[in-house]
């Protein structure tokens, strides 16, 4: 895998060793940075596929690193946070980070997140160039131009809000969307009441999407953070 270059930004050496060892064992190439300014520099010079970013850096706030990278690139950023406070993760996601992982994490968890991000990257590359009016993910098909949704060949009857929510998630497949982001995109504001409404709409949307009980749910909930549509490989 030539393009699977991952930039690991982490100031704590043992954790950085753990992450790089794990990733190298699974065939990824790793770049290491111990500080924020070093990370920004390496990101611009080496153009890694993914950035794994620890939020608590000695020289620069992790948020600032995201802001600087996002000013010129849309490369996926996976945030590693030791803080169990959801607020940080939400802020990072709202600033443009793609996913998050909380310390302490297991090796499997880390690898799973990295895999999801690569899948999303591949999906984006496939979509590039051809602005396709069609979206498909497992049994789900969305025809943006005709405003229709099909699940396993049969048309789904969705309300306007459900449809907009589904489109928003589909267009950001693989990325965690915060409640704030979703409500702002659907209702134009992030009132408390809208969050409650979002829950209900999501419940009914999931009911309509769940064709078979045992299958992996297409839309994941990140409690306290947001939702994510995952790409399901056939």
């Amino acid at each position: 895998m030539e393009t699977s270059k991952i930039l690991v930004v982490e100031d704590d050496k043992p954790v950085r060793n753990l992450i790089t060892t794990t990733l190298r064992m699974h065939g990824y190439t790793c770049l290491e940075a111990a500080g924020g300014s070093e990370a920004v520099m390496m990101a611009s010079s080496h153009l890694p596929s993914i950035v794994l970013l620890d939020l608590g850096l000695p020289d620069m706030d992790g948020m600032e690193v995201i802001r600087q990278i996002r000013s010129w690139s849309s490369m996926p950023i996976l945030v590693i946070s030791a803080r169990s406070d959801d607020r940080d993760k939400i802020d990072a996601l709202d600033l443009g980070a793609d996913d998050y992982i909380t310390k302490p994490f297991s090796v499997e968890e880390l690898l799973a997140r990295v895999r999801v991000t690569f899948r999303r990257l591949a999906h984006l590359q496939k979509m590039e160039g051809a602005e396709s009016p069609l979206y498909s993910n497992a049994g789900l098909k969305i025809d943006y131009s005709a405003n229709t949704v099909f699940l396993n060949g049969t048309e789904l009857h969705l309300t306007q809000t459900e449809y907009r929510l589904l489109c928003l998630l589909a267009q950001n497949t693989g990325k965690v969307l915060t409640y704030n982001y979703i409500t702002r995109n659907i209702w134009g504001s992030s009132w408390e009441n809208n969050l409650a409404t979002l829950r209900v709409v999501m419940t009914s949307l999931r009911r309509k999407l769940s064709s078979s009980k045992d299958s992996e749910p297409m839309i994941q909930t990140h409690v306290g953070i947001g939702y994510r549509m995952v790409k399901i490989e056939n």
Binding site: N147, T148, V149, Q160, V200, M202, R206, V223
Partner: protein, 670 residues
């Protein structure tokens, strides 16, 4: 340290302000609290209007100078002052004293001499005052003229009645002594029935003259033939005068004591009612009720937050119930910014202000600070009304507000004591927690540290199976550390501020899914089963804390059940009494003994039973669960299952979501 106390005696004398200022300067130099004492004598009601006005002014000045104004009752002024000084442990007494003419000192001992003989151990400061000649001239006002007129009519009528009866007695041939007695009765009645103390004397003189004119030879002449009658006249006048004076004195006493009784009654009532209240707001309201009862005027109650007036409540005389000033309408003179400003001034300075005082005297209310020592608890404002409050009512108001301050002080101290008790308990809890944690953290750390050392020192002696066992131990110990740290974080969050729960509407299934991701998966071949029932149960919760509860319950079940046990997580909706969501975690293990059930949720309770795999338990998990669930307004219970197993369930108030119209099908857009 003994606190000094300075008492200054207030009098209606024009030099009063000078004495008060001197006393205030002295007290502030001594850093001693100042009390302005006024001894109200039974003749108080008879003092001239000018004196009464001056007395009020002096009292007001005393209050402004920061003195606490107190009034005591009694005829013997020095004795009352001495008694007060003795009871209140006063150190210094300051009083103004007029320089008596030499001849007067023969009959009258100066106040200072009497005081110094009564209080040999106190400091007495005398401020000489030449001008302090008590004003005896009675200025006749319109109102008093009416009184005088009424008094004259009463006296004349009584005298006439006595004369008519006297004539009848004479006709009946009774002795003159009877007629004399009749006139003495007349004078006594006059003294009782009139308000002026002079009426008795005038009536006595008039009686003598009338008796002389009508009943002694020569009749109808102001002359007597028998010189023996002169003695009769003198005796008659003296007798009439004395009885008359006594009678009017009696009447004054009666008035005085009824006022005193009224004052005592209202203060007793206040302190009795206040003793029953234990919240700050209620104490203020009850006091305002008493003030309203006393004055019959609108009362404003300002509570205090951070040293400035916070909220205001209005008590109206006609309804006597609490009403929000905001709903009073525009016409009513609801308290506005101006009132708030005066209230904050009152609070800052600790002095009364507003109507009838020298500060903000045009205000519609009289503002009284509720203050004791250095603490300010609020401000009461009494409406101006039509007439100024008399100094008597004012002094009762001050006493009531003083009672209120005392009650608030007590309440404050009580609360402070409780807070200290709670913090001591928290401190103990924290110490226990720390001790228990340091032990329970050290054990797995030792194991990890040692195992890692072993692996490093290994020269190829360890076989694969042993190594695998060591790896597993490291992993499990680390997991244990992670869960302890998570629980500690939860405890800290709950302790810091119970109100800082990050409440959000959450789908309970999502939270359970999230929690099950974090449970200990390495527990042999026990299985965890999430039985989904409904996918639309929502509750308002702090998701990370509630998922901690589920993690703890499931991990506990995993830890204490034998191999191959099945752990079930279920959700259920309970519709009575209120709508609630119950989440239960049940296992088919051995359960716990009945006597252990109630202790399960106690902090640091680890039970008698050893976990099958002999793993440590902190006794923290279930206690944390209970704290979290109770902070959410739910409850947590445990019960044994039949034939065997344990079920722990907790409830959360269910939240129903009202959806704002989203029923349109997207096909409608086409």
């Amino acid at each position: 340290m003994k606190t000094h106390k300075v008492v200054v005696c207030v009098s209606p004398a024009p030099s009063g302000p000078r004495i008060l200022r001197t006393a205030a300067e002295f007290a502030s130099a001594e850093e001693a609290p100042l009390v302005a004492l006024y001894v109200e004598t039974p003749t108080h009601a008879a003092i001239s209007e000018e004196n009464s006005r001056r007395l009020d002014a002096n009292m007001a000045l005393a209050a402004r100078l920061g003195a606490r104004v107190e009034t005591v009752f009694g005829e013997d002024v020095p004795a009352r002052i001495a008694e007060y000084a003795h009871v209140n442990e006063v150190d210094t007494i300051i009083l103004g004293q007029s320089v008596l003419p030499v001849w007067k000192t023969l009959f009258q001992t100066p106040l200072s001499d009497r005081l110094s003989s009564l209080l040999p151990d106190k400091t007495l400061m005398i401020i000489p005052d030449v001008s302090a000649r008590p004003q005896r001239t009675v200025k006749i006002s319109q109102q008093q003229e009416n009184h005088v007129l009424k008094d004259i009519v009463t006296a004349v009528l009584l005298l006439g009645a006595a004369t008519v009866l006297g004539i009848l007695f004479q006709k009946a041939g009774l002795q003159e002594a009877n007629i004399v007695t009749l006139y003495i009765l007349c004078v006594t009645l006059t003294a009782v029935m009139t308000s002026s103390p002079a009426a008795g004397i005038v009536s006595a003189a008039a009686s003598v003259v009338t008796f002389n004119y009508l009943f002694t030879e020569p009749l109808f002449y102001f002359q007597v033939y028998d010189p023996g009658y002169m003695i009769t006249f003198v005796v008659m006048f003296i007798a009439a005068f004395i009885t008359g004076t006594l009678a009017s004195r009696l009447k004054e006493y009666a008035q005085q004591s009824s006022k005193k009784a009224f004052r005592t009654q209202i203060l007793l009532d206040t302190s009795r009612i206040l003793a029953q209240e234990d919240s700050r707001g209620r104490i203020m309201e009850v006091t305002a009720g008493q003030l309203l009862k006393l004055t019959g005027r609108k009362i404003l109650i300002y509570s205090v937050a951070d040293g400035v007036p916070d909220k205001v409540k209005v008590l109206e005389p006609d309804r006597g119930e609490d009403r929000d000033p905001a709903v009073q309408g525009t016409l009513s003179a609801s308290p506005g910014e101006e009132e708030r400003e005066i209230a904050s001034w009152t609070l800052r300075e600790g002095k009364s202000a507003g109507a009838w005082t020298e500060v903000f005297s045009r205000a519609e209310y009289l503002f009284l600070p509720v203050q004791i020592y250095a603490h300010s608890y609020g401000v009461f404002a009494i409406g101006r009304g039509e007439k100024a409050l008399s100094s008597f009512v004012r002094s009762i108001c001050d006493s009531i507000v003083g009672e209120c301050a005392l009650a608030l002080e007590n309440e404050y101290n009580e609360r402070a004591r409780e807070e200290v008790a709670v913090s001591v308990k928290n401190e103990q809890l924290r110490t226990t927690l720390l001790r228990s944690i340091s032990h329970d953290l050290r054990t797995p750390l030792t194991s990890i540290y040692g195992n890692a050392d072993n692996l490093l020192a290994d020269q190829g002696n360890l076989d694969e199976a042993t190594k695998r066992e060591i790896y597993l131990d490291i992993r499990n110990d680390s997991y244990w550390l992670i869960s302890v740290v998570q629980n500690l974080l939860s405890v800290t969050r709950l302790e810091n501020a119970e109100l800082k729960l990050d409440l959000n509407m959450e789908l309970i299934d999502d939270v359970i899914d999230e929690a099950l991701k974090h449970t200990d998966h390495s527990s042999g071949n026990r299985s965890v089963l999430f039985v989904r029932s409904r996918d639309d149960l929502y509750a308002e919760m702090d998701a990370s804390l509630i998922s901690q509860v589920i993690i703890n319950l499931v991990n506990n079940a995993l830890k204490y059940t034998p191999d191959a046990s099945v752990i079930k997580v279920e959700t259920e909706e309970i519709s009575a009494p209120g709508k609630e969501i119950a989440v239960s975690v049940s296992d088919n293990g051995d359960g716990v003994s009945e006597e252990e059930l109630p202790n399960l949720f106690t902090l640091f309770y680890t039970g008698q039973k050893k976990a099958p795999d002999s793993r440590r338990g902190l006794g923290l998990g279930l206690a944390v669960c209970r704290s979290i669930v109770e902070a959410h307004g739910g409850k947590i219970c445990a019960e044994n299952l039949i034939p065997h197993g344990l079920r722990i369930w907790f409830t959360l108030p269910e939240k129903e979501i009202i959806l704002n119209g989203d029923v349109e099908d997207i096909s409608g857009r086409r």
